[in-house]
């Protein structure tokens, strides 16, 4: 599972890097694109199979965000879709705010 995770996450990042180097898309474009791809893979039922096969490596990439949104929307209703990803978003918001108050930009 660890080796599979290594290969999967590495491959996703490799694809992203190739897109970034060969097109004019910024990282913002690519992350948004990958979230949509994750939701699409969830739609075809592929992403849950990838998670079963790969494990943690498939959960850490941003495509997992799209998949979780899709599966939660399907199971708990469209308007509850954020409940599946609320842990990540909430942690990120609280941490970012605390860090912003504590640290200053050095340049």
């Amino acid at each position: 599972m660890i080796i599979k995770s290594f290969l999967f996450t590495g491959a996703v990042c490799l694809i992203a890097q190739i897109i970034k180097d060969n097109t004019r898309l910024t990282s913002g474009h690519i992350t948004s694109l990958f979230v949509s791809i994750g939701a699409l893979l969830g739609f075809f039922g592929l992403y849950d199979k990838i998670i079963d096969c790969v494990g943690g490596g498939a959960r850490v990439v941003i495509t997992s965000f799209g998949n979780t949104l899709y599966t939660t929307a399907l199971e708990e209703g469209i308007l509850n879709m954020l409940s599946g990803v609320s842990l990540g978003i909430t942690t990120a918001i609280i941490m970012a705010f605390i860090i912003t108050l504590v640290f200053r930009v050095k340049d």
Partner: protein, 133 residues
């Protein structure tokens, strides 16, 4: 040495290869570490660990160096999401709590949430319509 040779020499072809290898290895290490974290502590702890780590490194000013070196290897995992949020909040800190931090908080992460939600919304509607047929 004529112009074409100079252009050929200066085109960053090997750099692309190098970037790709770095992104693959960095992403792979993150994936493998995540799998270890998930199997020992659980999924939630894994997310919290990466988000706290990415925010802390961004606050300390180390994250930009890491991102410059490892590129998409650390942007595509959840660390990129946390980094973009903390980085834009820190950058506009001087402009005040509301017009600075508040208004720019979700600058990059917002597009991830927006397009993720819109994709999920459309695809679930599509799925429901297909069920009706």
């Amino acid at each position: 040495m004529n112009y074409n040779e100079i252009v050929k020499r200066l085109t960053p072809k090997e750099k692309r290869m190098e970037n790709a290898v770095k992104a693959f290895i960095a992403g792979g290490v993150m994936g493998a570490a995540s799998e270890i974290l998930v199997s020992t502590f659980g999924i939630d702890t894994m997310y919290i660990f990466w988000i706290v780590l990415a925010s802390l490194l961004t606050g300390m000013g180390i994250a930009d160096t890491i991102v410059d070196f490892l590129r998409m290897g650390v942007i595509i995992p959840i660390t990129g999401f946390a980094h973009s949020m903390t980085a834009s909040a820190l950058e506009y800190r001087e402009e005040g709590l509301i017009t600075g931090i508040g208004a720019n908080f979700m600058k990059l992460a917002g597009s991830v949430i927006l397009y993720g939600m819109i994709s999920a919304f459309i695809l679930v509607l599509l799925r429901r319509l297909l069920w009706l047929l």
